[in-house]
Symmetry: C2
Subunit: 342 residues, 2 copies
Amino acid sequence: MKNHQPTIIDIAKELGISKSTVSRALTGHPNISKETQKRVLELAKKLDYQKNTLALSLVKHQSFSLGAVVPELIAPFFSLAITGAQEVTSRAGYTLFICQSNESYLTEVANVKALAERQIDGIITSLSKETTDIEHLRNIQRKGIPLVMFNRVSADLEVSKVVVNDREGAFQAVEHLILAGYKRIAHLAGPKNLLISQNRLNGYLDALRTYNFPIEDELITSYDLSKGQARVALMRLLDLPQVPDAIFCINDPTAIEVMQILKVRGIKIPDDIALVGFSDDPASSLIEPSLTTVAQPIIEMGQVAAQLLLDQIQGDAEKFVPETKVLKTKLIVRRSSVKGGI
Amino acid sequence: MKNHQPTIIDIAKELGISKSTVSRALTGHPNISKETQKRVLELAKKLDYQKNTLALSLVKHQSFSLGAVVPELIAPFFSLAITGAQEVTSRAGYTLFICQSNESYLTEVANVKALAERQIDGIITSLSKETTDIEHLRNIQRKGIPLVMFNRVSADLEVSKVVVNDREGAFQAVEHLILAGYKRIAHLAGPKNLLISQNRLNGYLDALRTYNFPIEDELITSYDLSKGQARVALMRLLDLPQVPDAIFCINDPTAIEVMQILKVRGIKIPDDIALVGFSDDPASSLIEPSLTTVAQPIIEMGQVAAQLLLDQIQGDAEKFVPETKVLKTKLIVRRSSVKGGI
DNA sequence: TTTAAAATTGGGAACGTTCCCTATAAAAAT
DNA sequence: ATTTTTATAGGGAACGTTCCCAATTTTAAA
C-alpha cells in the first residue's frame, strides 16, 4: 500500500540524527564515528535503503551514466562493439545505456535527446544510415557533453573518433581479387552519405588504378543497406551485358545476402562470381562457401571508443583535443574468392 | 568556459517573469496567456533550452525510462526481442535503456541495481545463465517497480512473463526426428537451472515416451551455453559406444557450433547425424546444410513483454495480477534433418 | 459603478542528495 | 584549570523542476 522508498531522511529520523550524518555514513566520509556509521549502515540494510542517483546527479551535475546510440543491435558488428565499450565503461564505474536508432535519423535524434535530457555524462555513437544532418550532435557538443564516434563517423564534427583503415582494407580486398585472377570486379557500395562507404569505394578505386584496371561506372552500384534491398543493386550488376566475375561488397551482411541470391540462381561461387565482404561477422565463416572478408578489430573499436570518452570526461575540458584512432583491418581469405579451393 | 545549461530560471529572469510561468509555458499548461507563452518558447529556442528530466523525475517519482536487462546482444534472439520491446515502449513515450548482463550473475545484479537507483519505471528481463538466486529481482518487486520476464523466466517469481510453449516445441522437434526415421536421438541440453532448459528437456522426453522410445541418460547431456563449450558436451555423445544418429540442441547457436565440429570431423549431416535447433536464428537458414529448428515469434515476445510492462505501470497497482503469455512456436524443417534432401 | 467570475501570474514547498559552514563535544596541549 | 586542537554532529543551501495556493489583473455580470 504505502510504496515509499526509504530515504536518507527516514534513516536520520529513526536514528535521531541529522541527514548530513547519515549521508556521511553512507558515502564513507571520514568525519564520522565508527559507532554511528555502523548504526546507520545497519538500519540502511534493514530498511533496504537504496540511494536515489537522480538526486545525486542533480546536485553534482554528473549522472555516472553514459549513452551509446547505434544503428541496430542485430548487426553483430554493433553488438560486439558495444560489448567492448561496456567492458571499459563498467570497469570505470559508469553504467552504459544502449539505444538503437534502428537506422532511422529521427529515432537517432530522439535517442540523443533523451540521453541528454537525462544528463548523461557522455555519448558514444555510430550514425544511422539516414543521417546527413548532424545538428543534433553539434548540439550535444555545444552543451559540453563529451561525444565519441566510431565506425560511421562524420567528417564535419570535431570529436574523437575510432575507425579502421577502411580505404586500405578495401584496397587489399580488391587487390586480392585482382591477384586471384578476377578481371571484372564490381563494387556493391553503401549509402553515399556515409564516410565509410566513400572510403571503401576509394579503396576499391585505388586498387583498380594501381593494377591498371579500367574503372567502369556500371560496375559500381550502391544501395541503402536496407534488409533485402541488396537484391535490387545486385540485379543491376547481373543484368549488365558483361556480368562481373567478382563483387566486393560494402559489408558482410550484404555479401551474405548476395551469396544467397546467387546460389538460388545457380551461379557458382567463386567460379562464376567471387565474393568479398567487410567486417568478418560470425556468420561469414559459417556459410558455404565461407566468405572472404576484411576483418576489423570490432571489440577493440568499442573499447577504444569508450576509453576516449572516459579520458575526455575525466580530463581537463580546457585542454582537450579530439583524437582519431585508426585501427588496422586484416584480410581474411576464405573460399568465396579462391577458385581452386583453399 | 562557462558551461551552464540554461534552466527555467534563466528564462524567467531574462523575461522578468516567474519560473512557474515559464514552466507553464513549456509544459503547455492552460493557465497562461498565448502572448507570454510565445515569448517563453522563443527565448527557450534561442537559448537552446533543454529540460532536465532528472529534476522532473525527482519530484514526480517517475523517470519515463524503462530498463531491459538481457544476457547478451550478440545473440540474435535477444537483440530481436529488444527491438520488439523498444518499438512498443518508444511509441508510449518511454525511453528503453538496454543493459547486458554478459551472462554473468553479478553483472545482472549490478545492472538491475543501477537501473533501480536511477528510478527506472519498470524492467524487462531475461535471466543470465548463471542466475539461480533471484533476490535482486524480488527486491525490485518489493520496491514496487514493475517487472516483466521473458524467455528465461523464473518459476519462483510472481511477475508477468512471456514465454513460448517450449515443451511442446521441443516435442514437435523430436517427434519430427522420430518420424524421419532417426532411432537414437540425443539431447544437448542447456544449464539445468534455466526453466527453458527443463521445459525443452521435458518436451524431448515426452516425445520419446509417446513413441515408445527408450530413455537413455547417456543420450542427454547438458552444458552451460558458453561459447565453444558445446564441443565438450558433443564429445561425450560422440564417444558413446553407440553414437546417436540425431541431436536435438537446446538452441540454434549450439546446433550451429555442433554442425561446424561434425563437418570438420567428416560426419555427414543429416545422413550420419541429424541436427535440430531452437529459435530460428538468422544464421540457421544460411548455413549448409540449413538447420531444422523450432521458430519462436521473437519480436512479438519483446512486444508483448513491453506491453505487459506498460499495462502494469499505467494500471492500478492494487488490482494488478501477474499474467503469463505463452506464444506459439513453429517447427521449421530444413535440410539438417531430412535424409533424402528437401 | 460595484461585484463576481475568470484569466493570468507569482511565491514557495517539495523531491533526495551532498557539501559547506557552524556548533558542540571530546581530547590534547599549555 | 584553561586554552587549543581534533573529532563528530547538525543546519541549511543548492540542484531544476512541478504544482498548489494565493495574489493580481482582466473580463463579465449585476
